[in-house]
Amino acid sequence: MTTPNTTTGAGTPPVTTKDLFAENPRWCAGCGDFGILASLKKFLIERQLRPEMTVNISGIGCSSRAPNYFNTYGAHSIHGRAIPVALGVALARPDLNLFVHSGDGDAMSIGGNHLLHGINKNFKCVFLMYDNEIYALTKNQTSPTTRKGHPTFTQPQGSFLNPLNPLTVVLGLGASFVASSADWIPDHLTDTIKAGFDHPGFAFIHIAQRCTHFDAGNFDHKTSDWFSFLKHANGIEPDKRLANKAELVNHDPSDMGTAFKLAASDRRYFGLFYQDRNKPRYDQVLRDLVANAPKKDRAKLLDAYNI
């Protein structure tokens, strides 16, 4: 196998929306996934990332179909296991731009162990958690983030427990980049992806995602009094359209204590909770290890076992 030459298309025409079109998504009309798809495409075009240099990796679920809808490289893997596949790509090909797409069931339930270790390894990727607070593709079961009391087919009496809070979970795990946005605020979401892409490590982006089919009431996208934007010179710009309608809260993303308090509160905040650019990157550590290892000659491979 030979790795292709990866010169990033100097002299080639600019990347357009048309170039990124693969096929029409098979999501329900009104699904929040469309907004996320559009925001990521918008970012890829703004940044002019060559489609052949982008790899989207996902697990299983409605949202995990996303890689199929980008005319880039991609792997739609198995349930909960996007992170290991993505790490394999990151270790093999640091030249590629890596995006991981995972739902709340995929990331917080079946793939919880991988999220824990992906965050700890802090390998370079943008991790997009599409949180629609339900198992949708399997048709309406309680997920780790389903709100208490919400009826589903598996807990028809109303979901039994308080949901897991993905933001406090990942902050507790020591994530080096924790941001939150929503599918219906495209400018903010694009800016969040941008900040995540520029982060030198594992960028965890939580996205509130509407599921019109199974839980039309999960997020009220028409009003803006139930959330606030986090604002800071080192943070992410509040959404241009909603900046004067929603509350703005100053928050320094280097302040872990406040980040945790905000994440744990009942109110929703969109923006950058926390960032640490200096956390060591496992992929980089391994590459340095290989680069610095004393070189050995393959022709002498077995000489150490001579008798």
Binding site: G74, A92, R93, N113, H114, L289, K296, L302, Y305
Partner: protein
């Protein structure tokens, strides 16, 4: 004192874990090799790290088979056992691997701790007709042992064995110094050497029979290596650049070796958070164009099955090593077995399309990664390499394998293909998806998925595309089926009985057929290196034998065929029954195969 010449002999050293039996084995091995003798070593390792001493679970020992010819297996039974106390001796006698003339040397140092059990075990030996020589470590040695908290007994026993096996003391001392290392405290070193010397003298004083195996000097470059190390070096030589694994006995030492060595050859080792992640990382790397490999044992193979199926469906190359151990479930992690054949071949849900190859000895271990990489890149189906505890841990002197330095799979040399009884595959093999380009290739962007797709890679549930996907994937494996030549045969191509084995049973099988031929028994043997798919010629080959049986370290009985028998029956419709299908955790023995052949022919 008389010295008896032997062409082949086998002895054992039995101790409590943590007292250096394995270390003593390493030194003996190196010294025998230095003396030009052929050795085959099998360690007996407890499933725990340091179980309570003087319990049956603490048994840590070493079996050494010594010969004046190249040996392929650990042999039949033991001629001499040296045991540090009665409990480990009693435990090992249960395995019934001693012969009638077996000599037992029993250290009576622990007798006062439990005279009753000593007497019981001595009575057992007498009842079984075994000659026991009791000995007591001499007073000066006991004093040294007291000073170093008993951790030198192994050297004392090593001294005794050196005397008995007519070893050159200078060579052994050299090897002891090598084993202790340059940085070892000189005072302690002197004490250890004294223990060795005292052991030698004690054995001399006991008036024991000495043995001598005289080997003629060997031709060509030789190396001394164990199965898992050979496999690790083969992985490097085959050009793999990423190893991704999770700790599991008895596969872990592959990861240990590569963690140390692979970076020096431009690759890296990833220790994953679990077995599933380990295979996922390998898949991600291979998808991106970097040859990657993972290794595991039984429980890990179960955990990896979903991803193995994904690699088939998404057409991503993948190599998985399964170093088998006793099962089911956690089973016996430090014992050998061959029961993973069926999960390897048929595992993962839905239809199965993969290739399963096996290693029969430490040389195969070196070349299997090359073949696996060749097959997986040509076919884009998973390839599983089956080893087992026995092969993984057996040390052997072998002719130095040829370094291939494979960078591209088309460079695979014919001799490796021939070794595994397979021809080169056709150049153009149809894939489910027409586009198989690697990330970074402009204008060829593509997405892979575990969902059913059409030839353009689009997700679809159409009947035609599903049927075509199955057909194309299976055709890839049929290419292998057609490329396979007749498997290795021992003895005539037509006979009264054919004994079929795979993987690590090869050595015992070959030796058993050799013994049968000498005795005029009309038995032949067949060994399979590629276990799935099977060659198309198999049915015709089988037709030449009156009876076909299998030898397996796996369970089977009158109502349930053992895994290999099951596979062969289903492929050939021949009435194949197991000759030996036992999951005892111990390797099969040549003489036992021979006895069963005789019974089967009556």
């Amino acid at each position: 004192m008389s010295v008896e010449k032997r062409s082949v002999t086998r002895f054992e050293l039995l101790m409590d874990a943590g007292f250096g039996a394995q270390k003593a084995g390493d030194i003996l091995l190196a010294a025998f090799v230095a003396m030009g003798e052929y050795v085959y070593v099998e360690p007996m390792i407890p499933a725990e790290i340091s179980p309570p001493i003087r319990t049956p679970f603490a048994l840590s020992g070493i079996i050494i088979r010594l010969a004046d010819f190249d040996i392929t297996n650990i042999g039949n039974d033991t001629d001499l056992i040296l045991a540090s106390h009665e409990v480990v001796l009693d435990r090992r006698l249960n395995d019934r691997e001693y012969n009638k003339k077996c000599t037992i040397l029993l250290d009576t140092g622990d007798r006062e701790k439990s005279p009753a059990t000593y007497d019981a075990v001595l009575k057992r030996c007498a009842d079984e007709g075994l000659a026991v020589t009791l000995f007591d470590i001499d007073a000066p040695s006991k004093e040294i042992l007291g000073e170093i908290s008993g951790k030198g007994r192994n050297l004392f026993y090593l001294g005794m064995l050196s005397y008995i096996y007519s070893m050159d003391e200078a060579i052994v001392k050299d090897e002891i110094e090598n084993a202790l290392g340059k940085k070892f405290n000189p005072e302690l070193k002197t004490k250890n050497i004294s223990l060795y010397h005292n052991g030698y003298q004690l054995a001399k004083g006991l008036g024991l029979v000495r043995y001598k195996v005289e080997a003629s000097p060997r031709q060509g470059e030789k190396i001394l290596i164990d199965g898992n190390t050979s496999l690790s070096m083969g992985i490097i030589d085959a050009g793999f650049k990423l190893f991704s694994g999770y700790p599991i006995t008895p596969a872990s030492s592959v990861m240990h070796n590569l963690a140390r060595e692979l970076p020096s050859y431009g690759g890296c080792v990833h220790q994953a958070e679990d077995e599933i992640a380990a295979i996922g990382v390998a898949i991600g790397a291979y998808y991106s164009g970097v040859p990657a490999i993972t290794a595991t044992s039984g429980p890990g193979l179960s955990l990896k099955q979903e991803f193995i199926g994904y690699a088939q469906s998404a057409e991503i190359p993948l190599v998985v090593i399964d170093v088998q151990r006793g099962g089911p479930s956690t089973g016996m992690p430090t014992k050998t077995e061959q029961s993973d054949l069926t999960p390897a071949v048929f595992g993962s849900h839905g239809d199965h399309t993969k290739v399963v190859i096996s290693v029969s000895n430490v040389i195969d271990c070196f070349y299997a990664p090359h073949l696996a990489r060749y097959l997986t890149e040509k076919l884009r189906v998973p390839v599983i390499i089956m080893s087992d505890f026995q092969t993984a841990n057996s040390y052997k002197v072998i002719t130095k394998p040829k370094i291939v330095n494979m960078n591209n799979v088309d460079e695979i040399p014919d001799f490796i293909l021939e070794r595994f009884h397979i021809r080169r595959l056709p150049d153009n093999i149809e894939m489910v998806r027409l586009n198989q380009s690697l990330p970074g290739t402009p204008g060829q962007m593509r997405r892979v998925t575990g969902l059913n797709t059409n030839a353009q890679g689009q997700i679809t549930t159409s009947s035609a595309s599903s049927q075509r996907g199955h057909q194309v994937r299976n055709e890839k494996v049929h290419h292998v089926r057609r490329a396979l030549t007749t498997p290795e045969l021992f003895g005539p191509a037509a006979n009264d009985i054919l004994v079929v084995g795979w993987g690590s049973t090869r050595g015992a099988l070959e030796e058993a057929i050799g013994l049968a031929e000498k005795q005029g028994i009309k038995a032949s043997g067949m060994h399979l290196r590629v276990v799935y798919p099977l060659p198309l010629s198999l049915k015709d080959v089988f037709a030449k034998y009156k009876k076909i049986v299998t030898v397996e370290v796996a369970y089977g009985d009158g109502l349930k065929p053992s895994p290999l028998a099951l596979l062969l029956r289903s492929e050939t419709l021949a009435d194949i029954k197991p000759l030996i299908a036992e999951a005892t955790g111990r390797p099969v023995r040549p003489k036992v195969i021979l006895e069963r052949i005789k019974e089967a022919l009556q």
